[in-house]
């Protein structure tokens, strides 16, 4: 109860009103932008996506439009933060905010200096003509971090996908013993607070000499990626007609052939999207890295974390923008796979 009281006394009433006021202002300004955005993206504002029956009453119409307006606001809330950082990353000034020049679309207010900084930061001699590439590859902080991030993410993705797919195949067999218990165990890395997991690993891995090594972090990230693989692969196996396996065996295929020709094509989309989930989880993970890694294994999110905590420079926004572009790419792949999988299993119209 004390905590609740403390919460309310801490949250100053004046601030609360102000907060509401600013949210409203933000929503109004942004909703205009979003309506335009909708027209640009989809050729129509949200209002016309959902058609009303001709017999709808005026009350229903008003309600419908109010409702769609609310939804527009929520979509704005979801997407604005991600869009806001993109123009800010081209700021010529070292600030996190829109300058007057940017508002009036003055080209000199925009620059690529923060993108250059990603490459230059940490290089011994960015002006050098000779050995520039080696210098960048070995010394630029963000490049090193990116190398670490991708190396760790690729390794842990391979491990997580292999182990997770096998386990998902086992779990989806009708005869699986202790199914719910084992499933809960295998999903729990997603549920258990990261700090607890990272703390446990910090002590244990230090004891066995894995702390401060690539292997330690790869193991940690594999653990975190496994639940996603299990969930996505299991999803592709639900509604799987097991008589297909018997049919294949009847026709003389051995276990391996059955797996390759019957099961594999079905679970492959699930495997790939599970792998992508595991990949992005590892690429985004920072708590385990904070606890387990030393400078050698510093990753992009770790670099961002200390950057945000200590000295915010728009370089972080530039990195963030690149990460957003990558997310868009990965999301596209996952969505394509999901639809393909649904089509294959006949769950959705082609």
């Amino acid at each position: 109860m004390n905590a609740i009281k403390a919460f309310f006394s801490n949250m100053k009433r004046r601030n609360l009103y102000f907060l509401i006021a600013c949210v409203v202002v933000l929503l109004i300004t942004q909703s205009i932008a979003v309506t335009l955005g909708f027209i640009f993206l989809f050729g129509t504002p949200l209002f016309f996506m959902k058609e009303l029956p001709l017999y709808a009453s005026t009350g229903e119409r008003i309600w419908q439009y109010t409702y769609l307006t609310i939804c527009t606001f929520i979509f704005v809330f979801l997407i604005t933060p991600i869009l806001v950082i993109v123009p800010l990353s081209f700021n010529v000034e070292p600030y996190f905010t829109f300058t007057e020049g940017m508002m009036s679309f003055d080209p000199s207010a925009y620059s690529l200096r923060w993108y250059k900084d990603i490459v230059y930061n940490g290089m011994t001699n960015p002006e050098a003509t000779e050995g520039w590439w080696a210098d960048m590859w070995n010394n630029a902080q963000w490049i090193r971090a990116a190398r670490n991030s991708f190396f760790i993410a690729i390794c842990s993705t391979i491990l997580a996908t292999t182990l997770g797919t096998l386990a998902a195949l086992g779990l989806s067999q009708p005869n699986m013993p202790y199914r719910s218990l084992i499933t809960s165990l295998l999903i729990s890395p997603m549920i258990v607070p990261l700090v607890i997991m990272a703390t446990g690993m910090f002590f244990f891995y230090s004891d066995v000499g894995l702390s401060g090594t690539y292997l330690g972090i790869i193991l940690a990230h594999t653990t975190l990626g496994v639940p996603f693989v299990i969930i996505t692969v299991t999803a592709t196996l639900t509604g799987f007609d097991r008589s297909l396996i018997r049919a294949s065996q009847n026709m003389g295929a051995n276990g391996l052939t059955t797996f390759r020709k019957v099961i594999m094509p079905l679970i492959l989309p699930g495997m790939i999207s599970g792998a992508l989930f595991a990949f992005i989880t590892s690429l985004d993970e920072v708590v385990a890295v904070i606890f387990l890694a030393d400078v050698e294994q510093r990753t992009i999110p770790r670099q961002m974390f200390s950057g945000i905590k200590e000295q915010i420079s728009p370089t972080i926004l530039a990195v963030a923008t690149l990460l957003v572009i990558m997310s868009i790419g990965l999301l596209t792949i996952v969505e394509m796979l999901r639809r393909r999988s649904e089509r294959m299993r006949g769950l959705a119209p082609a």
């Binding site: 829109f98 699986m176 299991t234 606890f291 996952v334």
Partner: protein, 427 residues
């Protein structure tokens, strides 16, 4: 006993082609299938036991096991246990104490120094650290007995029986003291459990704050997710697929990117404040503090967790046939009634899944509060990290972690019962 004999004995049992009773054959095949299914999961189970379960188990063990006392004072730790806690201990105990201290000072072994002991005692009796480290620096001057007098000469405070009672407790390897500390309790001078001083009561209220803020975040997520999910589930496929991108893109975007974005938006020199100043709603010198406090934590966490609410809600709503609502309407129900009595009850599985998932995830959040929470917006995870990385009271951090783990597992269990873990899906 061979199987054929068995088969002959039950001559009326149905036999399979190779002469084994069908029932038995079936049992054997089932066992084989069960075994095969289990073997498929085995590598991962073993992997997780080593990489995940053991480390957490070891951490939990650390929360009750802290052998600093007996590590630094091996002889003394044995002797003091026989002391009746009346007055001061006897001379042999003092002798053991002095010699153990000298030994520790001499060797300076990692984890077995006077400093380690001082730290450990200081947890239970704040304000004694300097007594131990100070005595440690002078202990080598004592060369012969009587050791009690010699120790008292170094520092008068050794006269206090409370110190020796504390030392007796600290000399035991297993202790509930860290759970007591995690629940804002301590030992008093007599060794009884009492609430900690007001100044140091921060953990229970922080657990409360964590749960309360998680509840608020879950509530806001629900309020925002429900209309959006409903819209997505009722729009034509093509439109909803397009809109779904707006939900999935944040879901796929790095947590740190989104947190950075909120800093850029909410900080005093940030986008919102600039807009407010620009339109004259707020004076330039009274910009609003929206970040580095609870407000900042709540806003960014709602944004980060919103997709986890929308996706389960959407997947449930998609399965509700729109004809139900139409039927209810055609039978004369008002729109509100039809929604309340027909539609809403069917969404409850989705609501349960979404709220529980968001609640569980927000209880354990660390990164966002650490970056935008300032002083009062931090959650229990941040306190655990503080004790593991900064104050280095590892046992207390582990005890706090154990309590947090229990809370999360309870909700996980409820989730499993109500929703079923296999219902989890993304996108």
């Amino acid at each position: 006993m061979s199987e054929t004999v068995l088969a002959q004995q039950n001559s009326d049992a149905i036999l399979s082609t190779d002469g084994i009773p069908l029932k038995q054959k079936l049992a054997r095949t089932t066992r084989k299938l069960r075994m095969r299914a289990f073997l498929l999961t085995l590598p991962l189970v073993l992997f997780l036991v080593v990489s995940f379960v053991l480390p957490i188990g070891q951490m939990l063990w650390r929360s009750v096991n802290n052998p600093a006392g007996s590590n630094v004072l091996p002889v003394f730790a044995e002797l003091i246990q026989d002391w009746d806690e009346q007055g001061l201990p006897d001379e042999p105990v003092f002798e053991a104490f002095v010699k153990d201290l000298q030994n520790a000072r001499e060797k300076r072994e990692i984890g077995k120094t006077v400093g380690n002991l001082a730290t450990r005692v200081n947890y239970e009796m704040p304000g004694t650290r300097s007594l131990f480290t100070g005595t440690g620096r002078k202990i080598n001057k004592v060369t012969e007995g009587p050791y009690k007098e010699a120790l008292l000469k170094i520092n008068k405070k050794w006269d206090d029986p409370v110190i020796w009672r504390t030392l007796k407790r600290v000399s035991r390897d297993y202790t509930p003291a860290f759970y007591m500390a995690a629940l804002d309790h301590k030992y008093d001078d007599q060794g009884k459990m009492v609430p900690a001083d007001d100044l140091y009561q921060i953990y229970v209220s922080n657990f409360g704050k964590t749960l309360w803020m998680s509840a608020i975040i879950t509530f806001f997520c629900f309020i925002l997710a429900f209309p959006v999910s409903y819209l997505l589930s009722t729009l034509p496929m093509k439109a909803s697929n397009l809109l779904m991108i707006l939900v999935l893109l944040p879901f796929w975007t790095s947590l740190l990117v989104r947190t950075t974005a909120w800093i850029a938006i909410l900080q005093t020199e940030g986008v919102i404040n600039d807009i407010l100043v620009f339109i004259g709603l707020v004076a330039n010198d009274s910009r609003i503090q929206m970040i580095y406090n609870q407000t900042g934590t709540i806003i960014s966490m709602v944004h980060i967790l919103l997709p986890f609410m929308i996706l389960p809600l959407y997947s449930v709503m998609k399965t509700i046939p729109p004809s139900y609502m139409r039927a209810a309407r055609s039978m004369g129900g008002t729109p509100i009634n039809a929604f309340r009595r027909v539609y809403f009850p069917q969404t409850i599985p989705g609501i349960a899944a979404g709220t529980l998932l968001v609640f569980i995830l927000s209880i354990g959040f660390y990164i966002t509060p650490a970056l935008v929470g300032g002083e009062d917006g931090i959650l229990i995870s941040n306190l655990i990290a503080y004790h593991i990385q900064k104050s280095l009271n590892w046992s207390l951090g582990a005890a706090l972690g154990a309590i947090l783990l229990v809370i999360v597992l309870v909700f996980y269990w409820i989730y499993n019962k109500l929703v079923g873990i296999d219902k989890l899906s993304f996108g």
